[in-house]
Symmetry: C2
Subunit: 153 residues, 2 copies
């Protein structure tokens, strides 16, 4: 029987327990973990799918998948054939969509030379997914200058 996922909030070894940014990074702030999540969003399911897409060592992949399952970001499933395990995003894992899109769009803006080719994220009509910004319903935008962190709510 697969090990029951822990609720991540029960962890006790947080780097900075009161900061949601830091907790997220403790859970998925590892390059491989977020690339595994990216590939799961794009249809990777079997261990070998992830291994081939990432070119990652087996033991590292095993470790990261185990942690993602323990932390409730992914879950193990048995494929229809009953023969092999697959991995799928939980609702919490799917909810990393905004994070992955924000990472993608920052990379598109800052990590490619002008005209340098890269993959793109498109919708069902093949249109580019719009840029994510932080704004309210009236379209007022927020940025580093106009916001600050208030310790503990």
């Amino acid at each position: 029987m697969p090990k029951q996922p822990q609720h991540p909030q029960h962890r006790r070894d947080w780097t900075d327990p009161n900061c949601p940014v830091a907790r997220t990074l403790d859970l998925v702030g590892d390059r491989w973990s977020l690339l595994i999540v990216r590939d799961a969003m794009d249809g990777a399911r079997a261990f070998t799918d992830f291994q081939q897409r990432l070119g990652i060592a087996r033991n590292v992949l095993t470790d990261r998948l185990r942690r993602l399952v323990e932390d409730g970001v992914m879950r193990r499933e048995v494929a229809a054939s009953g023969k092999r395990q697959t991995y799928a995003l939980t609702p919490a894992g799917q909810d990393l969509f905004t994070v992955v899109v924000a990472l993608r769009q920052w990379g598109e803006r800052h990590a490619f030379a002008p005209g340098e080719p890269h993959s793109v994220l498109v919708d069902q009509r093949g249109d580019l997914v719009p840029e994510v910004t932080v704004h309210d319903d009236e379209g007022r935008a927020f940025d580093v200058e106009t916001t600050h962190v208030r310790k503990l709510a």
Copy 2:
């Protein structure tokens, strides 16, 4: 004279060169790097500011700051006194705001028990910064199910 920042797109050792998500993670996808960026967004400037806020080993902090400067995410400045170096986000670093907010909001939703206290991000009026979602001008929302990656554009 401070070393001129490299343009990150000139790097040659990308994990997955065509993927903007992967390039961003190669540049800042290290837990400490994003926590340094978080603290810079919240006013940290001097080496000791970062060290005290993060509780990070000096050599690790030195290494991560050096990389962030080399990759054009932060820049070194000499404080008004002329006596000590400080670190500030470049425009590319400030543009990580959306990424940091998305990480924060995911953490708020998934990494805290109900009612467990955490810091919050507020605007100049003290109001909570709204949730970031992926949507178009007509309010049509995008998610894992309705989008896919198209290799190379």
